[in-house]
Amino acid sequence: MLGYLLKRLTYTVPITLAVTVVCFLLVHIAPGDPLNAVAPADAPAEVVEALKAAYGFDRPLPVQYAKWLGRAVAGDLGRSVATGRPVAGEVLSAVGNTLLLAVVGGAAGFLGGTLLGCLAGYFHKTRIDRVASAISVVGVSVPHYWLGLLLTIIFSARLNWLPAMGAGPGGSGNWTWDLAHARHLVLPAITLSVIPMGIITRTVRALVAEVLSQEFVQALRAKGLRDGQVFTHVAKNVAPTALAVMGVQLGYLIGGSILVETVFAWPGTGFLLNIAIFQRDLPLLQGAILVLCLVFVGLNLLVDLIQPFIDPRMRRN
């Protein structure tokens, strides 16, 4: 077991290093000028050159990468070109907001998906299965931003039940768990939950149907176990794979949805990335991508570590 843990931990090192190279190169090879964030469009060439030197963009790429990586290892992701604020602070604040949205949206999606998937799998090839499957297909297929806009038009603009944007009446800095703030969560969380719900429904449905067709289930029934007891055994067999898929989905959610967060002006990582991309704010972009990749790698590692505790077969192997 210890070997398994060490092996998983060791894998994260080259993955993280590769991530840093890719995210650094990607943002540098994209067209555009990182100084557009600070210099007006008609800034004279000498001002642009002076700024390039001031921000170190005039140095060779390998040198820029080495310096950035060296600082990043020490926890310093540099400063945003556009605002001058430390990137680490900007990203962590945004991650906090996205985490909040992702956990609520993810919980809704996972619960709904698990419920629908279990129903569809248990009542395989019945009307219930067809309805649940249709819901999951819609969930996977509906574009996020379209659904977000639709919900906003219905529940905000028309009915005026819920706020259309923002992370609370006083902004995310003043977040508290009260009704005024929670109302701001509802629409973005529902919008965000739809895709994971669809994916989890399909995954759980297929797993439940497959496990139910296995011989050990017949044996359990033959032993006289009631449906509920049988399903407990089915759930135990379904859980590891479903959990792995949920881990990946949670990673996506924590990565933030640029579209959903932009539609709802939710100050999370997606919103931050959107701004950084359009401003060509390279330090912010690199820092945000790096942190998100690390979160993703960390979550996958966590799922890998949890799985053996749920599935004894993995411990044996």
Partner: protein
């Protein structure tokens, strides 16, 4: 477990009680005397608050002329005519009769910064060094990058006495006062008090402006409160607090207005205008110094070298149809400037929709629908100021095809378009791709921005943005003469002649002017929309 999640579980447990308390609190809340206007702005972040805002001309109304004052201000609290230069922190300015490079400014007395320190000549010199002297301790590269391109004439500066300063220009420049509304004065005392750190000053800025910054949440909100001691009684804010909320998506902004989350928004989504008006919201718009053109290359080999082709292109566009496409949120262009501008003049070429005349000119030039002229235009897929870039460009493409001009688009992001623009038509990045025109919306707020930078042959790349390499000795001579013309009326006459040259030679294909639309809740009264990108938020009143 993160704190927010722990709090979530606690909150769920306490939900019923919370609901009851919240309802009771709302019911028992005393009426507050503070008036608050919540303003949904189209930017993705709050512009810089340290003195010189970033994010272009439109940002000055939010964290520029609210928190700070310039030496010479722009009259932004009138809407029925173009504004003009008015005294700001300088009560008087004039060039030296013997040395036209030397300008003397008399400063306003009795003005205090928000931190209580006194505004005087030392503060002006300190602020000039802040953006122009990279050896000074207060030098801020971010502010310098914003304002240096706006005050290119400044060569030197010195204090004459406690309330008089001298600024020298690189060469005589009668238009120099137009550069100064961009240069804002922040408090030296606050910079020292806060530990000489501009990033910290951003949260605790101090200017002399009509508002003070009460709260800043980066990317989310800035709360400005009334400065009751503001030196100009005419511009004392009529609202106690203005909350600026960055909402970059137009539809989200509009929905926020419809749901009552904000009271005023910039640039509502054009499609939603009828619904907003039907729901009792007010759409306010005005002539705005902003034009949406195709800027032609006049270099050898460009198909736009032929004036007949340029004029034909201008006659081929049904601008009223484009205005309809934008739900009325634009005005048809008759040139680089709106006809109400003092610099419009009397051009002999009347820009209108006349496809027959356009076809005749094209035929004369040797082209027709069967034998079309081909050209490549670089455009942005969207972005600030570009209006509905793609639909509008497609409209222009179809209109030009009708008279025998087949245009092809090189579509890039706005940030990338700026690179092509700064480089000029002669740059390899443009020539190699066969690009002979660029579609970039231009701010035309002052003579330099509207005319000089495009017409003066000195401003070809890399010196400036005379993108098409236009050069005309007669125009250069008028511009040179204008630099030493200090009488405003004569200046206007010279500038009108330049504009006439521009239109008569059809140096661009002008399509529409923006009208900088705002949508206002019925609660908002008194907002005066100036004919400028500078707006005066002190006029906002909430009932």
């Amino acid at each position: 477990m993160p704190k927010k999640l722990r709090d979530l579980f606690r909150w769920l447990a306490a939900l019923p009680l919370t609901v009851v308390i919240t309802i009771q609190t709302i019911a028992a809340a005393p009426a507050t005397a503070e008036t608050v206007a919540r303003y949904g702005i189209s930017m993705a972040d709050i512009p810089l608050t340290t003195g010189q805002p970033d994010r272009g001309a439109g940002a000055y109304q939010f964290t520029g002329h609210t928190l700070y004052d310039p030496l010479i201000a722009w009259e932004a609290n009138v809407g029925d005519r173009p504004g003009k230069l008015v005294p700001g922190l300088a009560t008087e300015w004039k060039p030296d009769a013997k040395d036209p490079n030397r300008w003397v400014f008399t400063l306003r007395k009795g003005v205090k910064f928000h931190d209580g320190s006194t505004f005087n000549a030392d503060a002006v010199i300190w602020n000039l060094a802040k953006v122009l002297d990279d050896k000074s301790p207060q030098f801020d590269p971010k502010q310098a990058a914003q304002v240096r391109p706006r005050i290119p004439s400044v060569a030197g500066y010195r204090k004459i006495d406690a309330f008089t300063v001298e600024i020298t220009t690189k060469e005589p420049n009668s238009l120099f006062p137009y550069e100064l509304p961009w240069f804002l004065i922040s408090s030296p005392a606050q910079f020292e008090a806060i530990g000489r750190d501009w990033d910290k000053v951003a949260s605790h800025p101090s200017g002399t402006g009509p508002f003070k910054l009460d709260k800043l949440v980066p990317r989310e909100r800035a709360e400005l409160v009334r400065n009751p001691d503001y030196w100009d009684p005419q511009r004392r804010p009529q609202t106690d607090r203005i909350i600026l909320l960055p909402i970059p998506d137009a539809l989200t902004r509009t929905n926020a207005l419809l749901t009552g989350q904000v009271d005023i928004i910039e640039a509502p989504a054009p499609d939603t205008v009828p619904q907003l008006e039907k729901s009792g919201f007010r759409i306010v718009k005005n002539v705005t110094p902003h034009v949406w053109p195709y800027h032609f290359s006049l270099l050898p080999g460009s198909p736009w070298q032929d004036i007949r082709v340029r004029k034909a292109a201008n006659l081929a566009i049904d601008r009223s149809a484009i205005v309809a496409l934008l739900n009325g949120l634009a005005t048809p262009a008759k040139g680089q400037l709106d006809p109400s501008s003092p610099w419009f003049g009397k051009p002999s070429f009347d820009i209108r929709y006349d496809p027959d005349e356009a076809r005749r000119l094209m035929k004369e030039a040797g082209y027709s629908k069967d034998k079309p002229l081909k050209a490549k235009i670089i455009i942005a897929q969207g972005g600030t100021g570009q209006m509905l870039s793609l639909p509008m460009n497609e409209f222009v493409q179809q209109s030009l095809a009708e008279i025998g001009i087949d245009i092809d688009f090189e579509v890039v992001e706005l940030e990338n378009l700026y690179l092509h623009w700064r480089a000029g038509a002669n740059a390899e990045m443009n020539k190699d791709k066969g690009i002979t025109a660029i579609n970039l919306a231009y701010v035309t707020a002052d003579p330099f921005y509207a005319l000089v930078r495009f017409m003066d042959s000195h401003y070809v790349a890399p010196n400036g943005v005379n993108w098409g390499w236009y050069k005309d000795d007669a125009v250069d001579a008028i511009l040179a003469k204008n630099k030493t013309t200090f009488d405003t009326r004569r200046q206007d006459e010279n500038l009108a002649r330049i504009h006439e040259y521009m239109v008569n030679n059809a140096l661009m294909l002008w399509v529409v002017h923006d009208v900088n639309p705002h949508a206002l809740s019925p609660r908002v009264k008194g907002f005066v929309q100036a004919q400028h990108w500078f707006q005066d938020l002190t006029t906002i009143r909430v009932e």
